[in-house]
Each structure stands twice: as C-alpha cells, then as structure tokens.
Amino acid sequence: MMYTQEITLLDGAMGTMLQRAGLRLGDRPETLSITAPDVVEGIQRQYVEAGSQMLLANTFCANAHKLAGTGFAVEDVVRASVAVAKRACAGTGAKVALDVGPIGELLEPLGTLRFEEAYALFAQMIRAGVQAGADAVFFETFSDLNELRAGVLAAKECCDLPVFASMTFEQSGRTFLGVSAPCAAMSLSALGVRAVGVNCSLGPKEVAPILRAMREVTDLPLILKPNAGLPNPSSGAYDTTPEEFAATCAELTDVGAAYIGGCCGTSPAYIAALRGALAGRQAVWTQKRVHGICSASEVCAFGQGVRVIGERINPTGKKRFQQALREGDLSYIVSQAIEQEEAGAQILDVNVGLPGVDEPEMMRRVVTAISGAVSLPLQIDSSSPAAIEAGLRAAPGKCLINSVNASRASLDSVLPLAQKYGAAIVALTLGESGLPATTQERVDFAKKIVDEAQRAGIPREDIAVDCLTLTVSAQQEQAKRTLEAVRIVHEELGLETVLGVSNISFGLPQRQLVTRAFLTQAIFSGLTLPIINPNQRDMMDAIDACRVLSGEDVSCAAYIGRHAAVQQEKKDASAAAPAQLTIGEAIAKGMQAEARAIAAEMLKTVAPLELVERHLIPALDLVGERYERQEIFLPQLMNAASASGAAFEEVRRAIDQTGAQGEGKGPIVLATVEGDIHDIGKNIVRTVLENYGFHVIDLGRDVPPERVVEAVRTHSAKIVGLSALMTTTVPSMQRTIEHLRAAGLHVPVIVGGAVLTPDYAREIGADYYAKDAKQSADIAKAILSEAEERL
C-alpha cells in the first residue's frame, strides 16, 4: 500500500538566531517573548516570508522547572510566545504550534523526576498553549522516550490538537539514552501522534538512515528537521549550505518526510531554499514492513519466528518473590529480570499481583525499575485493569497486555486501554461460559476477540492468541485440542500465538520431560510466543533446535554458536577440586561457594545456632577488625560478608527444616533519602548487615519520607538507617526523621553519608552516626542487644 501527503514547511532555528541578536548563554530565550517581543517576531516573520507554513512558538523550555528563578510564569511566557508567533504569520494562513522541549532532568529509573511530575509539567504548558490559541503541539529534541511519552499522553489527555513527536539521535542511530529510531517510531505511533521523526542531531545526510529506519516500523508521515550539517569543532560553524541542505531533505520526501524544516544552524535562507527544492513534491511512502512490540532500545518483531517470553517475574508459588513484593525489594525483582535476559528471553512477562500489595503502584514501580536495567519489551500481566494501565503508562515502548478474554467485562475494560496506549494484546480463549472444551470453541473465542479488538481500533497484527494450556494429568484429551487450535489460529487466522507452556505438566513427576515435549509439538503446530522459564537450559535448548528445524535459524548459525562449546565446558566443570579450608578461612578470603559448602557439611554435626555463634560471627568480627586496622579494604570486607552470607543461607535452610523461627534480627529499614540517587553506601551497609544476620528491608534510593514511615509501621522496624551523599540532600534526611517523629515512631535512626559528621547528625535529629558499614553493624548489634536486655 502507498501513502501520499502534501508537504508542510516548518521553520528554522530560533536559538541560533537569538544568539546572533545578542542572547547571553545561560539566559532563557523563552522570556524574550515578554522582554523583547519585537526581536522574536522579527525572526519569525523572516521564516514566514521564507515560506514556513507552521511556526514553532518560542516556548521550547517554557516549563515550570526551566523557568524557575526567572520571575516569569509558564502561562505568561506561553501566552506571549504564541501571540508573537501569531502576529508573525498574520494574514498568511501559516499555523502556530506550541513548541515543547525536554524538561532538562532525567526521569526515573536513571534520574529522580517521576513520570507523573513530567506529565504535570507538560500538561501545564499544553493547557496554556490551548488557551493561547496554538494550532498544534510539537514535541522535539527529546532523547528520553518515556519523557516524550509523558508529554504525548499529557497532550492527548488535555487537548484535541494534533500532536507531533520528534527525537534527537546521534550518528549511532540512538539517542543519549540509548533509544533506537525504530523503537521511537513504533512507540510514538502506538500512542496515536500525527507524525514522528527526527530533529536536531546531525545534518540531513546523517539523518537520512535514521529516518529510513523509522519508516520500517510506522505508517505515519515523518518529521525531518535536521541541523545545518555538522558543526566544525573549533569554530562551531555548520558545514552545509542552504542549497545542499534543501536538496538532501527533498530526497527524503520519498521515505515520507512530510513535515520539513531546520534546527540548529539553519536560518531563513535554509527555509527559502527548502521551499524551492520542495516545490511540486509530495511526501510518498509505502506501508511499514515490521510490526511487533518494543522497549526503548529493542524491537521484538512478530511474524519472524519464535520469541521467548520469560515467566519469572511472578509471585505465584515463589516465597522469595512474594517477600520481595511485600518488602518492596525491587533489586531482587530486577535481578530476576536480568537473569532471564541473559538466559535468552526476548520479552518479559511482569506479574506483581499478591494479596495485600497495592498492585497498580507496585506494577508502576517494578516496570520502571526493570526498564533501567534490561532492554527487553514487556508483557504486562494482570487481571486488574488499573494495574495494566499503571504498567502501560510506566513502560517505555510498546507492550503486550496479558490478557483480554472473550467475556464482556474483560473486553470492555481491557480493549480501551490497549487502544489508548497502542499496546498489543494476548487474546485468551475463554469467555463467560468458562474454559473451552473443544478446538472449535477455542477458535470461536479467538475470532470473537479479534472482531471486538479490531472494532476498538486495535490492528489485527497486534493480536496474539492464547489457546490455553490445560494440565494433561487432569484433562488428558485437552492437550491435543490446544495444539490443534494453535495450528488453526496460526495458519488459518494468520495470528501470533501464545501459550503458558509449563502448565501442561503440573502434578507429574519429571515435569520437564513432558513440558519440553509439549513445547516442541506446540512450536511445530504454530506456537510463536511460548511463555517459559528461560533459566531452564533444556527448554531454551529445545527452542534452539526448533529454530534450526523450522529454518528460522539460517545456516544453523545461532545453534552452532551456542552449542559448539558445550562439550568443553562440561569437562572443565568436573575438574574443580574441593579445597581444604576452614569456614573462617573461606570467609576471610571471600570465597562464597566454598563457605556455603563447608557450612552445609558442618551442619551435619553442629547445631545451626552454634555454627553462627562459634564460627560465623567470630570470623566476621575478625574480618571487621582487620578492616578497621586498614589491613584489608572495602571490597575484601564485602566479599567476606557475602561469603558469610552464603553460609548463613545454609543455616537458615537448616533452621527452616527444624521448623524453628528462622527470622533474622531486626528488621532494619534502609533508605537513600528523597532526591538522592547515590545509593552505593547504603547498599554496602545492606550487604554487611544482612551478612551479620540482620533482616534488612531496603527501600532503595530517592525514597520519600512517607514511604519510610509506612515501612517502619508495616514491618515494625527496630532500627532505621538513612543515607545521603550530598550537602543538598541532607535536608531531606532531616525531613525524613521529622516525619518519623511526627508519626509517633521513636525508632532509633542511624545516619551516614560522605558529608555527615557526628555533630551534623545530632543537629538533624538522628540518634546515631555511623562512619561506615562496619560501624552500622556494631551500632545495630548494640541497639538490639540493649533492647533484648530490657525485655
């Protein structure tokens, strides 16, 4: 299919022109719309005269954070800027767009700005823009996909104006934050913008491949607003003439560049040249070739073979995971995500539903945290529409929703979310009548959901059908029906297919044998999106083999790459000889595996508590003393602590087996305070405390005071440890202590951090100052043993 569209000529640089007119670096150019409106209008009039059909108002950084300290309000700057632009194009029919640039701070998880804060800052600008009479909202120069998503959502929820979304890339084809061009185009198209594209970055020649990469994944017209070439490193001057610039841009109308203008270094002369070069041209492009889902950095294309969905982010039947959810221990959950990515998962299922846990809020936090550490697209898995929406908002990229079924309630609550956020869906083949018994029922449910979804505006290619795996030991005949339905849905309906594979073997011995056989049969039948545990090597091996047999793995290259070395590894592993060590030596040398093995061996003859009191604690104390005497340094202390931690795990296991209370001492709530992301010190303290046998509830970094209060209450914490690195964040530490006291919680507070001193600690109301992790452990021991004595 071919698309055509008339070209809209945009304007050129504003900053470059204002600097030529004498703007000082460090000043906010947007305030000139109020203080020197004639200068701004003069520049914009030149653009209109050169041929611009859409001016971007002088509002790029007119957000409340960037304007702070200038003495001007967002509403005033936006109103003035839009008015100036309107005057500049009076009588010409040219339009005025509200120009919206980045806030200038990084969002979570890398930064501290919350998604909803960014949303609110954009919403304020957009409402002001609508009031001022802007004709469109134009986002540009973004390098963080989620920041831009917050803006686009704000625009869509606050107004009906057309929304344009453009990002800035480096020559590598990625933004500063690692966002790839296809991911940007796929995600923003999903959100329903008018056009997507590229501005700033580079010259038109260098932008061309980036625009072409976008073309692969979107049917929308593209925005092209490059710089005037590349800057000369010594002079700062740009290297492309208006004519060269215009000629290269004109060629890109063939990939669908329909909104064309200039960024840094361009001037009215460039726009005039564009008008000449674009005369008589239309934007023309063909339909996208790739569909699927994506994160901010990776596209997972559908229709090109088997794509593995990792199932491990899910509390069902997993005690450790449940504990992590209850305690808000995101680093454990993130570690599960990393493990699956390294094992070869291509999509991660995220399910955080657990009684007693605020599921939407937890979904938001988990999705945000995962997106900082892994680059895989996500499948948002919940039966709660509120949790699904929270996940879809937070996830950078285009997600898969797991799932919508054929019941009225499900269709009515989930399909609008999928449409709004542009998510793909898993269509689960069950309905009001319950589980399907036959192949045909499965297919009928699938058809019903597909019909309803398409009517709700969800493209057919964004639907994957789950034909439902039932347990073969309970309903033996159903396995064949599932497989048959998978075949029909894949071959006859031409859709992607999902199955939760491991359900099949529930209740049977040696489950993996049955699960693996089912997996290979299902893939042969047309399963494309198996949900499995990618950490099970033999399941991934089976998929490697299936890809060879289906021809997906061309020339068996991936298979050979992965499996040629296996024989050798096995031999090496068997050669390791056990060392003759005492547990104290293993801990002192930081040898985790050995410490664990020796502890397990000793527990056959020594009582668990005796092992702790007579061996582990003395070994750790010795290490602590050597650290204080500076005979060893921090990594060695931590390695020793981790080794003893491994031994402690064996002790806990032994205690669990005897049925006695296995809880550690404490609990101790730890947090790096609000506004601070330097969590390395806090994490060191956590490692050391845990390995002294304390139960630590780690709230992470940038933690608001309210969350500390809530955690102390919920878990009846005995001690709170707070960390802050910067002089600018110590006040936030003080605020946290005040919150605790105001809530009537007189739990002892230990503080630490580079700029703190014992005096300073007292001043902000802390009970103890700890200079390092070792001292934190000493103080915690003293506090808790004193408390015990009082009992």
Binding site: R24, L25, L110, T112, V334, G675, I677, I684, M726
Partner: protein
Amino acid sequence: MQMKMPSIPMREALHYMGWRGTPVEPRLLEQIEELIGLAEREAEPRTALRRFAMDGDGRLEGTTLIPRGEDVRRMLSGCHEAVLLAATLGAASERMLLKAQAKSGVQAVLLDAVLSAAIEAVCDAQEAALRSRLADEGLYLTDRFSPGYGDMPLAQTREICAVLSADKTIGLTVSQSGIMIPRKSVTAIMGIGREPVSRRPSGCAACSMRGRCALCKTKR
C-alpha cells in the same frame, strides 16, 4: 562531543575503593580488570568544552556565569580567558550501575570505583589535549576547578551546565536537588593566561571535604 574512552588505570580504581597498598588477592584483581574492560567498552564518554574571554567582573563574556568563591577567583586571577568543561560517561554508565547493583553489592562497589576512575581519566585526557593546544599558541592553562571544591558553591554546577546546554549537547542533566545525572559526570572551569599561571593543586588539597573524606590523599 563523543570521544573514545581512555584506558582506566587500575591504581586509580583501587584508590576509589579505599585501597591503601595492602595485598590484594589475584581473584579480586581479575574481577576489577574485567569491570575495567566492561567500562572501557560500554561507557559512552561525551564532553563539552568551550572557551570564553573574561571581563573585568570575572564574568565569562557572552554568558550569565560569574565563578564565585575566593578559591576559584584566586586561581583565575592573572587569566584573560576561561574554559568550561562538562563531561559524562552517559546513561550507559547509569544502566551499568543499576545492573551491577541488582547482581551483587560487591560488583556495584567495584564498578562504582572503576567508573569514578574512568570519568577522571576522561577529564584528564581533555585537559591534557587542551593544555598542549594552548602551549602551541603560547598560552598557559590552570588546573581544573569544580563547583564544590574549596568555597565554590555546588549550585554553580547548574549554571555551568546551562551555559554549555549540557543536557542538549552531551545528555548531562542536573536534578532538582542539584545532583548531576548521570552520576559519573564532572563540570569544571580552567583559566588561560598569557604568562605561566599558578597551577594550583586540584583534588584533595583544594577540597572542602579535606580530612573528612575516606579517600583523602592528604592523610597519606
């Protein structure tokens, strides 16, 4: 501007871990070497460097910036120009740290120190290149001085970033609480003189944390 990652000296990485010359087991050294390799491959150093004339008030001409504090003013006295430097290891370095943290506390401590050594190496390389360019012009360069050193207010980090448009040019942002993100970033000012300038020791001797910091070299 994107640049190639200079090699990261093991000794500096050890220094940031609080090492004081005691024996280190080979296994730990190997672990650190691996992380140095990772950082050299995956960090994305970018720098912004710009030269300004200084007017009589000490303002960098054409900007809003006047460096504040006795220490930096003393360093810049006798200079007719100043250079602003902003450098960062990029969002990639933040992701590496998040990942290391989820894997193990030790890994995170080691990587944090390796990346601290890395950003210093990046700044050192930029400074050395600039110094030799200036020498060709017959000019002299002071050491680099960062907000937070001596009595130069930390808040000037934000001003330096604004003048260099560091968010737009190299992806370096300053949070509401004044923290540079990515964390492994530096902003600094250097003076240029026509006569040899006092190269005023940077680092520990000029630091407001002197004597209180675990890494302080002046205690050795």
